[in-house]
């Protein structure tokens, strides 16, 4: 059958190709991105919606908890411990100097080699602006109320506070005359200095009021006769409009004492109970104090205050209104969150943060300006190499020196120790891992077997076992090792463990370098050392950057295991804080969330660097060979 060709079956195109057009609007831009990626099918749309809803719900719940009920005091009251462990208090400047050196070098390197994304600088600026704004906002927010519990069979405590001229203060006695009164929840500062904190005692009252067969626990028996007196620092009763400032309550009655303070200075609120009628003065009462500032417990703040107003008056059975003795309980408003939870943290870190950012920015600028200078790059590499012994020297000190007295490594802790273990681990395990990987591929059987044995043994044993061996067993085998510092022994343990894993990762990289590369280099007359150093290793390492950095990240996280061996790095020190004091025990969640955030930020930074390394230089080009 003859084919029936039409005119279009034979064709010659126009001499010029047609002009390129823009793609249809729905396939590009953010709309196109949404369509392609989030709503490409019914299933995809459903997944998108469900994920979004879950994410928002989780974020909302977390935010609500962290702002309304979490107690971040465990973090901001222990910042020194968290950052540098039990490092000598007076020598903390050495840790700060170390941090400064590192920030400067990081800034310089980023200026020289990297670039700062707009997102990064935006985040830094927002945080900085936030930190500078918070003190302003915080000072506008009225201070939350302070609550006391007045109990029978126990003399009431006096309250010492710092007042300022013109402050309006109010003292309210609220007798507990009804079971319902016990169930109130108060949002404000509550006493927490004593062995069991206020909230626990208040809960005891709530749980037992009206139920226990104790006349004092029956609200209807309330019969306290209280007298409140406001004293000046000298101990004299404050005169107010020619009358002494006092509130005398008849038995079983509540009341309010309110006044405007005449002067700046220390005041004492004296709470007196009529002790004569011993069996009659039954019952609990809440004492609420408004308009009084809860003082910061920070050493520098205390010092400045003492210089200005003198040290607080000494009295028996009195507590000072400062954040060591009081803790915020109950549900907070946003304003209270800012003034009670954010402000103290910001106050403690704003100075180092600003110094750090300024230092970083300067170093970055220097790096940026010297980007073309080969010499500056070399100098900064040398500075990195030198910084390490210098930092160790600064931190450890010299025996007998008065400027840099020795700080034994056993008290190094917190983030400092975590970073130190990580840096030493990375710096030592990387070359060792390369040697092991090359050794395992060696043609010499002895080298090959030793490397293989080393790698397989270390990979076959849990890290914690290796750390315990480094601590307990190794000194048995070789006496000089028992003199070796525990911290150093942990560094060695972590290094060997990581090196074994790295060796396997690097070996994987070595295997994918084609034989042709080696042949080409050999044909050029290169020696096998040159070939390994210049041709094989650079390609092998680049190919396994993600695996290597992954190993470094797990080393960073695994440093937390040294806590089990008796070193207090970041996780260990938090454990110590939590288990070491009753005050902080209820707030483990906050502390662990805080260090989780620190761990995450550093890990994320490391994997971000790895991604940049991967795509830098020849990595940005898809290799065709």
């Amino acid at each position: 059958m003859a084919r029936m060709y039409s005119d279009t079956d034979f064709y010659v195109a126009a001499p010029e190709p047609p002009e390129s057009r823009r793609p249809p609007r729905t396939s590009v831009g953010w709309l196109g991105w949404l369509r392609h990626n989030l709503f490409s099918s019914a299933l995809n749309s459903a997944i998108t919606v469900v994920t979004a809803v879950l994410t928002i719900l989780f974020a909302w719940e977390f935010l609500r908890w962290s702002m309304r009920s979490a107690q971040w005091g465990i973090v901001f009251n222990n910042l020194r411990l968290i950052t540098s462990g039990q490092y000598d208090k007076g020598e903390i400047w050495r840790v700060e100097l170390t941090a400064g050196i590192l920030v400067f070098l990081i800034g310089l390197s980023m200026g020289l080699w990297g670039r700062i994304t707009r997102t990064f600088s935006a985040v830094v600026l927002v945080i900085l602006a936030f930190m500078l704004l918070i003190p302003l906002v915080g000072s506008q927010i009225p201070d939350p109320s302070v609550y006391h519990l007045i109990q029978p069979r126990k003399s009431p405590t006096d309250v010492i506070f710092l007042g300022y001229e013109g402050d309006k203060v109010t003292f309210t006695v609220d007798p507990l005359t009804d079971v319902a009164d016990a169930d109130q929840t108060f949002a404000g500062y509550q006493e927490s200095a004593s062995r069991t904190d206020w909230s626990t005692r208040a809960r005891e009252v709530k749980d037992n009021v009206g139920k226990v067969d104790d006349p004092a626990m029956k609200p209807e028996n309330y019969n306290l006769a209280l007298t409140l007196r406001l004293l000046e620092e000298s101990g004299a009763v404050l005169e107010h409009d020619g009358h002494p400032t006092e509130l005398i309550l008849a038995a079983g009655k509540g009341g309010t004492l309110s006044l405007t303070l005449p002067d700046d200075g220390w005041y004492v609120l004296e709470v007196v109970r009529d002790d004569e009628i011993n069996d009659e003065n039954l019952g609990f009462a809440w004492l609420k104090i408004d308009g009084v500032t809860v003082l910061s417990n920070l050493e520098s703040d205390t010092k400045a205050r003492d210089e200005k107003y003198g040290s607080p008056p000494k009295r028996e059975r009195a507590i000072l209104v400062q954040d060591k003795n009081y803790r915020f309980e109950g549900t907070r408003t946003l304003g209270e969150f800012v003034s009670v939870q954010v402000l103290p943290l910001v106050r403690r870190i704003v100075l180092p943060a600003v110094v750090g950012v300024v230092l970083f920015a300067n170093a970055f600028l220097i790096g940026r300006l010297g980007k073309r200078e080969k010499r500056l790059k070399r100098v900064s590499l040398a500075a990195w190499a030198l910084s390490f012994p210098i930092i160790l020297f600064i931190l450890y000190g010299v025996s007998g020196s008065s400027v840099l007295p020795v700080v034994p490594t056993s008290v190094w802790g917190g983030l400092l120790l975590t970073i130190l273990l990580t840096v030493v681990g990375i710096g030592a395990s990387f070359p060792l891992g390369i040697l092991l990987a090359l050794g395992r591929r060696s043609h010499l059987p002895a080298v090959k077997w030793i490397c293989t044995l080393f790698i397989e043994v270390l990979r076959g044993v849990p890290l914690i076992t290796i750390l315990f061996m480094a601590k307990l067993i190794v000194p048995f085998f070789w006496a000089p090792l028992s003199d070796l510092d525990l911290t150093v022994r942990m560094m060695i343990g972590l290094t060997l463990f990581t090196a074994a894993y790295l060796a396997e990762n690097i070996r994987g990289g070595l295997q994918i370098v084609p034989q042709g590369q080696v042949e080409a280099a050999r044909a050029l007359g290169m020696s096998s050392v040159l070939i390994t150093a210049l041709i094989v290793l650079p390609q092998a390492l680049r190919a396994v950057i993600p695996a290597i950095v992954g190993q470094f990240i797990s080393l960073f996280k695994d440093t937390s295991l040294v806590a089990l061996v008796g070193l207090f790095e970041l996780a260990g020190i938090v454990d110590l804080i939590v288990s070491g004091s009753n005050v902080y025990r209820p707030y483990q969640r906050e502390a662990y969330i805080f260090i989780a955030i620190i761990y995450f930020m550093i890990s994320y930074g490391m994997s971000d660097i790895s991604r940049r390394l991967e795509t830098s230089g020849a990595g940005s080009i898809r290799r065709s060979m």
């Binding site: 042709g516 280099a521 050999r522 044909a523 050029l524 290169m526 040159l530 650079p538 060979m625």
Partner: protein, 247 residues
């Protein structure tokens, strides 16, 4: 060609085995300076293995290979000396993907010959001009076409100022449009007087440029002669069969 010159490559009774497989069965070949020898033959005939023996990428087990008066042996110094006199170009280019074109070309002169950086870069630039791609010096191999990559590979080999160039199927991995640019460079190189040993299937190139053509089959040299002899008057039955199938 000046037959009375001292030969630069002498191979006598070269044997090689891969395990039990006898790849080269007694190769005798003498190459003179400035000569272009094209080796052809079916795949598996041992022609690639043979030229890889000449710079010791493969080790022969019997016989003798003498390059520029130095005999190939286990002595590492001899091997290094010979390798620095022989340039080699591979079928798969084997450029170093992590280095720029410039770094690829200057690497060996800098680290093997210890040339100062500016000297090696100057030479490299001249070579890149010679192979026609000076503008690609800062790029990475992955950004170049196959033809450009192979020309870089030639420049890289020339940077060591070799006396002999070995080409192992230099155009087999290239698109038809790119074969010509590589052959042009090789033709120019041959005209400049380089001693060349070329394993190739490019019959046009062989006929035009070669001084002698060597036909390999089953690990031995079946026939060897001038292009005229080879293409117009082949003697051996195997040669005739091969030529009838590819022409």
């Amino acid at each position: 060609m000046a037959e009375n010159q001292e030969p630069i490559i002498v191979c006598r009774e070269v044997h090689k085995w891969f395990g039990n497989f006898h790849v080269l069965k007694g190769i005798d070949l003498t190459v003179y300076p400035q000569e272009v020898v094209v080796i052809i033959g079916p795949s598996g005939s041992g022609k690639s293995t043979f030229i890889r023996c000449i710079n010791r990428l493969e080790e022969h087990q019997e016989g003798q290979i003498v390059v520029d008066g130095i005999e190939l042996s286990h002595d590492i110094r001899n091997i290094a000396a010979i390798r620095s006199e022989i340039g080699m170009v591979f079928q798969q280019f084997n450029l170093f993907p992590h280095l720029t074109v410039m770094q690829n070309v200057t690497l060996a002169p800098r680290y093997v010959r210890h040339q100062p950086r500016h000297v090696s870069e100057e030479t490299a630039m001249q070579l890149l001009v010679r192979v026609g791609i000076p503008e690609q010096a800062r790029k990475y191999p992955g950004q170049l076409s196959g033809g450009q990559q192979q020309r870089v590979a030639i420049a890289r080999a020339l940077a060591m100022q070799p006396k002999i160039m070995l080409f192992d199927e230099p155009t087999s991995a290239l698109d038809p449009e790119m074969i010509k640019e590589v052959l042009d460079v090789m033709r120019e190189l041959a005209e400049s007087g380089m001693t060349m040993l070329v394993v190739s299937h490019e019959m046009g190139f062989a006929r035009e440029v070669a001084d002698r053509i060597v036909f390999f089959d089953e690990g031995r040299i079946v026939e060897m002669g001038t292009p005229e002899h080879f293409f117009e008057n082949p003697q051996h039955e195997r040669t005739k069969l091969f030529l009838s199938q590819i022409l």
